[in-house]
Point group: D2
Chain length 382, copies 4
C-alpha cells in the first residue's frame, strides 16, 4: 500500500482550521497532502502551496477545478479524497461535487447549512458507497472512547441521566476582534440559522449520542443572543430526552466569560456514572455502585483493548486536541486503505454523514423550540 493522497478545500495561509487538519492528517504517516484549492484565487492558492512545499500545478483556484483536473490523473497519483475545511456555507457544494465525481470526503462540521442539503449528501453517500467522515474531533479522545465502550458494555447499567455543556468565552473576551476573526460566524447567510448551536452545540450533541450510543429524541431550547444587534444565538440552555426515556440537560455559550473550551459530559446509569472534561481530556472519572471513585487514564489500568490502541504513547504522557483530531483521520484512512485494497476492516470509528444530518436537525429543532418559548421539538422530524 501507499500513503493516501488528500486534496484540501479551504485552509489558505492564515486559516486556523487548515493548519489543524494538515497537522492532524499528517500525524500518523498514513496521509499526504498533494493538492489543494486553498483560496478563492489560484495565486493565493499557489502561495499557500509553496509554504507547504507542494507541487504548484496541483494548487487550484477552485474546488471545481481541483476535482475535474485531479479526476483526469490516474488512480494512485490523483487525490483519493478531499477534506473540506471552509466556512459552514461552503461545505455543501464541494462535498456534493466530490461524491458525484467519485472522491471520498472528509468534512468539517456542521455538515451543511440546511437539513435539505444534509439529506442530499446522505443520499449521495448511500448511492455511491463512497466514504464520508465528519470531523467531530472530540469523540476522537481516548477517554471519550473508553466512556462509550463502558456504556456499550453495560458497565454503568441503564442510562438515566445525561448532563452536557460546552462553554467558551472568546466572544465576550475578544468582542472587538470578533469580526476580524471569523466574520462568517455572525452572518446567518454563512453560518446558517444556528450560531453557537452550529459552532459548538453540534459537538456537544454528537458527544452525547456517541457516548450514550443513543439518539436524542426531543429537545426544549431557550437561546440567548447576548450583545447589541446580535441575531444568531451565542448562548443556550436545553432540556432533552433520549431514546430510552433518560432525561438530559445541555448548556452552551460562547459568551461565558473566561471559559476556554469547556466541553464536558456526565452520564449517570443504574450501576455507575462517568464524567469527562475536554480540558482535562486524559482523565475519565468513573463511579461504580458501592465503590470509591476511579480515575481512568489513556493506556492506564482497566482500559478496553480497542481504546488502548488509540493511544500513541504510554500512560502519563498527555495527548491532546491534535491527537484526538488525528484519530478521526486515522480511522477514516484505515477504512479507506482497506476499501482500496478490497479488505475487510473492523472497529470503524469515525463520525459519518449520518451524524451530519442529525447535527443539522438538532440545530433546526433547537431554533424552532426557542421560537416557541422552549416547546418540545423532535429533531428527527426536521
Amino acid at each position: 500500500m501507499r500513503k493516501l493522497r488528500m486534496g484540501m478545500v479551504g485552509g489558505g495561509l492564515g486559516s486556523f482550521m487548515g493548519g489543524v487538519h494538515r497537522k492532524a492528517s499528517a500525524l500518523d504517516g498514513m496521509i499526504e497532502l498533494v493538492a489543494g484549492a486553498f483560496s478563492s484565487t489560484v495565486e493565493k492558492s499557489k502561495a499557500t502551496g509553496r509554504e507547504l512545499y507542494l507541487d504548484e500545478n496541483r494548487c487550484y483556484g477552485s474546488f471545481e477545478e481541483m476535482l475535474l483536473k485531479e479526476k483526469e490523473l490516474p488512480l494512485g497519483e490523483r487525490i483519493d479524497f478531499i477534506t473540506i475545511v471552509t466556512p459552514n456555507h461552503l461545505h455543501f457544494e464541494p462535498a456534493k461535487m466530490a461524491l458525484e465525481n467519485g472522491f471520498h470526503v472528509v468534512c468539517d462540521k456542521p455538515m451543511t447549512l440546511t437539513v435539505d442539503q444534509a439529506k442530499v449528501l446522505q443520499d449521495l453517500v448511500k448511492e455511491t458507497g463512497l466514504l464520508f467522515a465528519l470531523t467531530h474531533n472530540y469523540s476522537g479522545n481516548a477517554m471519550v472512547k473508553q466512556a462509550r465502550q463502558m456504556v456499550v458494555n453495560g458497565d454503568i447499567g441503564d442510562i438515566i441521566k445525561v448532563q452536557a455543556q460546552y462553554l467558551q468565552g472568546w466572544m465576550a473576551d475578544e468582542l472587538d476582534e470578533q469580526a476580524s476573526i471569523k466574520p462568517w460566524r455572525a452572518d446567518p447567510k454563512k453560518s446558517g440559522i444556528g450560531g453557537s448551536l452550529a459552532d459548538i452545540g453540534t459537538h456537544a450533541e454528537q458527544l452525547v449520542r456517541y457516548v450514550t450510543d443513543m439518539d436524542i429524541t426531543e429537545i426544549a431550547s431557550d437561546l440567548g443572543r447576548i450583545g447589541e444587534g446580535r441575531t444568531l444565538d451565542n448562548d443556550g440552555n436545553l432540556l432533552f430526552r433520549m431514546e430510552n426515556g433518560a432525561k438530559g440537560i445541555l448548556t452552551i455559550s460562547q459568551v461565558a466569560l473566561g471559559e476556554e473550551n469547556d466541553l464536558a459530559i456526565r452520564v449517570y446509569g443504574t450501576k455507575g456514572s462517568i464524567k469527562w472534561e475536554q480540558e482535562n481530556s486524559t482523565r475519565l472519572v468513573v463511579q461504580f455502585k458501592g465503590e470509591p471513585e476511579k480515575t481512568f487514564t489513556p493506556d492506564g489500568y482497566g482500559i478496553y483493548g480497542n481504546v488502548r490502541e488509540v493511544s500513541r504513547i504510554p500512560k502519563g504522557h498527555p495527548e491532546g486536541y491534535l491527537e484526538a483530531f488525528a484519530n478521526i483521520y486515522k480511522s477514516f484512512a484505515t477504512h479507506l486503505s482497506a476499501v482500496l485494497q478490497n479488505k475487510e476492516v473492523e472497529n470503524l470509528d469515525y463520525p459519518t454523514v449520518n451524524d451530519g444530518v442529525k447535527g443539522v436537525q438538532f440545530i433546526y429543532a433547537a431554533v424552532d423550540s426557542d421560537k416557541n418559548n422552549a416547546a418540545w421539538k423532535k429533531p428527527s422530524e426536521f
Copy 2:
C-alpha cells in the same frame, strides 16, 4: 450579655440533623442548648437530654409543652428561641406557635409543606417583629459570601448566565436502606409535593438567589421519578430566567450514582465569572475579562472584609459543612443579642422567612411546570 438560650424541637438520639444543629450552634460559644422537645414522648426526650447533660426538667414531651412551660420562666432563664429540626411536615406548627408566643425561631428547610403555611409564617414574622432564620447552610460558606459580594459590588458586571446543580447519589447507592434512613422523604404527606425538589432543590434555588442577589422569575421543569413505584421526584432538569433577563439552567438528582453532595454554581457576567463547588468549598474560581483565572480562598488575598470575618481560622486551614452551618447560627445569634440589648447591628446575613416562602413557591412552580410538560411557570404566582 450572656449566651443565648436555645430550645430544640426534634433531634432525638440518632437524629442526624439534631447533632448537626447542636454542634453548629455550639461552635462559637454564643448559644447554649437548655431545653428540648426532642422526641414524641417525654421519656425519649429525657433520654436524649441525659446524653446531652441537660436539666431533665427542661426535656419535654412536645413542643407545645416546651413553649408553654418555658414561657412561664423569667427572661434570661427561659429559652430565647427554638430551633426546629424535625421532618418537613413538622416545621409549621411549632414555628407558628413559637411566633405566637413570643419566641424567636430557627427552622430547617424547606420551611413548610405548602405555600399557604409559608405565608402564614411570613405574616406572623411581620406582625410580631420576631427573628426567623432558615438554615440554608450552604450560603454560610465563606466563598459563597465572597461570590455574592463580588456580584453585589459589580466585579463581574451584569449577570448574563447562571448554571447550578445539586447532585447526590445516595438514593441510588443505598436503595435498600432508603426506607430506614428517612422514611418521610418518600411520603408526600410528610415531604410535601416535592421530593428532591424540596430536599436539595431549594438549597440550589436559594444559592442562586443569594449569590446573584436576584429573584428567579420563571422556571420550566422536567422531573424524573426513577425507580419502581416512585411518586415523588428524585431527579429534575430546569430552565430558569431571572429578574434582569439572564437565563439559567439547573439540574438536581438524588439518584446520580456516585455523587456525594455535588452542589455547585457558576455565574457569568459581562466583566467576569465565578464558580463554586460545595465539595471544594474553600476555593472560588474567578475569571476577570482579559486576565488569567484566579482562585480565591477563605482569609486569602483579595477577600472582602466582611467575608474575611466569617473565617475562624487562617488561610489554608479548611473549614467545612459545620462551620458554614454555624455561620447561620452565628449571624442569627449576633442579631438576636443585639435585639435583646436594643442595639443596632449591621451586615445581617442569614436566610429568613422570606426565603422560606420563595423556596416553597419554587417547589410548587416546578411541580406544576412538570405536570404541563415543562411549560414556563412563575414561582411568585403560587
Copy 3:
C-alpha cells in the same frame, strides 16, 4: 457521666490558638471550659473569662494559681485536665506542675524547647499514669486515619518510599507584620533551637510516623534562613530513612511564597500507594497495583469502620481543620471519661507525650545535621 472540665493555660483575648482549642474542645459536647489562666495578669485573665461567660472566680493570673486553687475543689467540680496553648517556651512548666499535682494534660506542639524537658514530662507521665495528649491536629483528619489504617492492614504492602512536605508562605507574604503576629516565633529563647522545624516540621514528622506506623531512624538536613538577620531556620530540605530501610524526603518552608498550608504526604509500597494533601483534606488518592486510581472520601465507600466513626456528617459534606483538631480532644476525652469511670476503652488514637519527645529529638537532630553540612544524624540519639 458528665462533661469533662477543662482549665486553659494561655489563650487570652486575641490569641488565635486559644480560640481554636476552645472551639475544638467544645464541638462534641464532651468537654466544658470552666477555668483559665489565660493571661499573665488576673485582670486580663478575667477579661477573657467574661467574654467566654465563665465564672470570674475561676479566671486566674497564673497557671500555678489555677492548679493550686483548683486542686482544693472536689473532684467533679474542679478541672479534670488543663490544656496548654501558650508559646513554645511556656509549655514545659505548666505541664510539669499539672502532672505533679494530679491533673491530666493536653498540650500544644512542639511539646518543649529541649529534649531534656521532654524526657522529664515523659517520665512524669509514666510515673503518674496520667493522660497526656499532644495536639498534632493534622493526624486527626479522617483521611489521614484511613491512610494509616491501610498501611497497618498491609493494603499497600511494604513501604519503600515516603515523600512529605509542609509549605507555608506567610513569613514571606507578611514580612512586615511578622513581628506583631508571633514575636516569639523568631526568638530562639522562646522557640527553641528550631524555627520552622518546630513550628511545622514536627507536624510533618509526626504525620510521617503516624501514617507509616514506623519511626524515622536517620535524617540529613539542609536548612535555610531566608532574610536578613534571620537566626532560626524558616526553610529546610531533609533526607530521611525509616525503621524498615525505606527512604524518604521532606521539604518544609514558611517562606514559600503563596503557599497557605500545604502539608502533604505520599507513601509508596510494594502493593500500592497513598497520597494526602491537607488543603484537600477530604480526599485520599490511592493506587493499587494494576488498578485505576481510586479516591477515598470520609464516610465514603471502602472506608474502614474505625475511620468512618470519625466523621460527624455524611459523605460529601466537608469537615476541616477544626473537626480534625476536635478529634484529638474527642479521643482524649473518651479515654479520660473511661479512666474516670474505671472502664476499658479501645482504639485510643491521639498523639501522646512520646510523640512529644520524638518531635523535639527530630528538631535537635535536624539542627545538628545542618550544622554538619547535612551529615546523617539519628533523632533517637539526642
Copy 4:
C-alpha cells in the same frame, strides 16, 4: 526553502521512541524522513522503511553505511541531519561520526554513557559549528517556557527554593514484563552507571536548570535499588544547591507504584512562585505576593509573546507530549533552515550538547554522592 531531510538511527518496527520521533518531527511540516539505519540488519531496516513508505535504497544496515552513502549525495538531496533514537549506549558513536562528517545531530537523552564521551561531542560541536539538539522534550511544553520566561523576566524575584520530582511506577507495576520492554535499561553496560538517574533524573535536572536559568552546583544523593538483584538505582532522593545559593530537593523513582509520569517542578522566589506538573501540562499555577493564585494556560491571558507562538491551537485545546516533543524539532529545524539560508535567527530554544554534558555530570555526581552516604558533590567537577 524546502523541508529538511532527516535520517534516523534506530527506531525499527516496534520501537516506541522511533514512532515518537517520527510523529514529532513530522508535525509541523518542516522535516521529512528520507533515510534510516533503523535496525542492525539491512533487511530489518528495509522492512521498517516499507512501512514508512520510504525509498528502500535509503534504508541502511548501519549508521556508518548511512552516513557514508548519504554524504555522496548532493546537498538538498542527502540528509541534512540525523536523529539518534537508539538505547543509551548507542548514542555516542553515531553522534560522533555524524559530526565528523558534516551532519547536524538530534540525539535522545542521556547523551552518552560517560562524561568523557559527552565532552568529546561537546568539543566536536564547538569545532565544527554543527547544530546539536538533545531531546529533553518536557522543556518543550508551553507552560514550562512560560515558567522560564517569568523567572528570566524577574516576575517572581530572586529564587530561594526549588522542588522537583519525577515519579513513575511502571517498574513496580510491570515487574514481570520489565525484561521484555527495555532490557538495556537494567544493564549497566548499556545504560551507563545511572538507572532512573539517567532515564528520568536527567529530565528533572534539565527542567530545573531550564526553568530557573541557573546551574545546579552541588548535590547530595541517597539512591534506592528496590527489588532483588537490582544493581542500578530505580529510586532516589537528592538535596541540591544552585548558583545563587538557593536550595532544592528532588525525588525520582520508577518504582513509585501507581505513578504514571509525574514530573513536576515548583520554584519559589522573593516575589512569587510557580508550579507545573507534566500530567496537567497545560496549567501553570502562579502566586504573586499578595494576590490570589493565578492559573496560566497556553495561549491564554498573560502569556509572553514568545511562549504564545509555541501553541499550535487556541486556548482550551490541550496540547500534549508529542507537541512538546515537536517543539524541540521545530526550534532545531528553524535554526537549521536559517543556517542553510545564511539567515540570522532569534529565540533559539532547544537543549544542546552542553545540556548533554551537564546531564551526564549530574549522573556521575549523584552516583558518587550516594556511594559516600550522600556527601555533597559538585557535578561540574566530574
